[in-house]
């Protein structure tokens, strides 16, 4: 998919690509007509570049692994439980936590657009919004996982959650063996973004 525009590294000499020029023109019009405030635009970008991202979700997962009462609250009402950690709002007004079990692995998709739990995972990666994933996840979930190098134990059912409403899903992976006695902070470090979408598993060495 497009989304990569690396053929034009000319930002230093005022040569804008067609899309850069178009976006600049739109922003100028919107600001000059008083429809948007530049300070608001900057604050929105800053929020999603630096404050809201998958480390939020990793904290939720690590807490669920170490605090059984929190895990129960997260199962019962995802929105309220993540709010305990200060997360919620736009793109995640109604959150459901999908707990992996030895019997069932969960996988999140939005076949119709790009719905994704922003407050806990940030903005979605390009592949999540692109046709191959949106097309394949519902009809061939095992093949989709294979694209990520993930093979599930035989007999583990896959449940695919298509985000067709304003409900947003986050997968709570199973805590890996060998992490007994780890602190919440240390556990959060092994919770990858993909493990909270369901296209990965927590890894004792990997990060994503």
């Amino acid at each position: 998919m497009s989304g990569h525009h690396h053929d034009h590294d000319h930002h230093h000499d005022n040569h804008f690509t067609a899309i850069e020029a178009r976006v600049k023109a739109l922003e100028t019009l919107m600001v000059e007509k008083g429809y948007v405030e530049p300070a608001a635009l900057d604050a929105i970008v800053e929020t999603y570049e630096t404050r809201v991202g998958p480390r939020n979700g990793a904290r939720v997962v690590a807490k669920a692994w170490t605090d059984p009462a929190f895990a129960e609250r997260l199962k019962a009402d995802g929105t309220a439980a993540v709010a305990e950690l200060g997360y919620g709002g736009r793109g995640g007004e109604h959150i459901v936590a999908c707990f992996n079990t030895p019997e069932q692995h969960n996988l999140i998709v939005c076949t119709l657009c790009s719905c994704y739990p922003w407050p806990v995972l940030g903005l979605p990666p390009v592949w999540y919004k692109s046709p191959p994933y949106r097309a394949k996840a519902v009809i061939d979930p095992r093949g989709t996982l294979a694209d990520f190098g993930v093979t599930l134990p035989e007999g583990q059912r896959i449940r695919v959650w298509d985000s067709t409403a304003e409900t947003r899903f986050i997968v709570i992976p199973m805590r890996p063996a060998g992490t007994e006695g780890w602190s919440e902070e240390k556990l959060a470090e092994i919770v990858t973004r993909d493990s909270m979408i369901g296209t990965g598993l927590p890894s004792l060495e990997a990060q994503s």
Partner: protein, 219 residues
């Protein structure tokens, strides 16, 4: 609308190719599109469902060959024109005309954190009890509306089971057409892979959608 966006079960797109260490944005213009989209939406002139309709009604060839921020940008142009905030002359020239539409509100920099944290909850008070209960067997309706809907093609006319009663939520099909807001009960409905895809379905998989009450009939 049966358009390029309704992708569940389509084929020949090739494998999913994740990008290692993908950055949040690939270019500065993407940041600006995200921000303009959020801030312009905060003017309160259109709903999320209306702007989704503008994205989905792009010609499929354009939709499928655009990046997601390009799709957002194309839909922003359309919705700003439709609601009279900008004219096509302004979009072409980049020069603002003196006439303008007064927005209901303009998002201020210092309000951003609060507004994003609050979000826009979609649950409404129910005017009637839910028609279905957990465990009920239901069948999705078959329809092919010209307007926006959140019932994907692959899940139409299929039998499933109610797993959860989500709440009474804003109904996108009418809201996307600029009609007054209505709300309906929303359910999580689970289908087997075989029900959705026949012999080509994974026998050990299930798929759920979130379905509004009018998408469902008892089965």
């Amino acid at each position: 609308m049966n358009s390029g966006h309704d992708l569940g079960g389509q084929m020949a797109f090739g494998p999913v190719v994740p990008e290692p260490n993908e950055p949040v944005f690939h270019d500065d213009w993407e940041k600006r599109v995200l921000a303009i989209n959020v801030a312009a939406g905060a003017m309160g002139a259109w709903t999320i469902d209306e702007i989704r309709h503008h994205r989905e009604s792009l010609p499929p060839a354009q939709y499928l060959s655009s990046s997601y921020y390009e799709i957002w940008l194309a839909a922003l142009d359309k919705v700003l024109l439709k609601h009279g905030f900008l004219t096509s002359e302004e979009l072409l020239s980049g020069k603002p005309a003196p006439e303008r539409r007064e927005p209901k509100r303009v998002l201020k920099g210092e309000e951003v954190a609060t507004v994003l944290r609050r979000g826009f909850p979609y649950e409404r008070e129910a005017k009637a009890p839910a028609r279905f209960a957990i465990g009920d067997s239901v069948r999705t309706i078959v329809m092919h509306p010209q307007h926006h809907t959140r019932l994907p093609r692959y899940a139409r006319g299929k039998q499933g089971v109610i797993e959860r009663v989500v709440g009474c939520h804003v109904f996108p099909d009418t809201g996307s057409q600029g009609l007054p807001e209505t709300a309906q009960w929303l359910y999580t409905v689970v289908f087997t892979g075989r029900e959705l895809w026949g012999r080509d379905g994974d026998p050990n998989s299930t798929v759920s959608i979130e379905a509004w009450e009018s998408y469902l009939e008892p089965a």
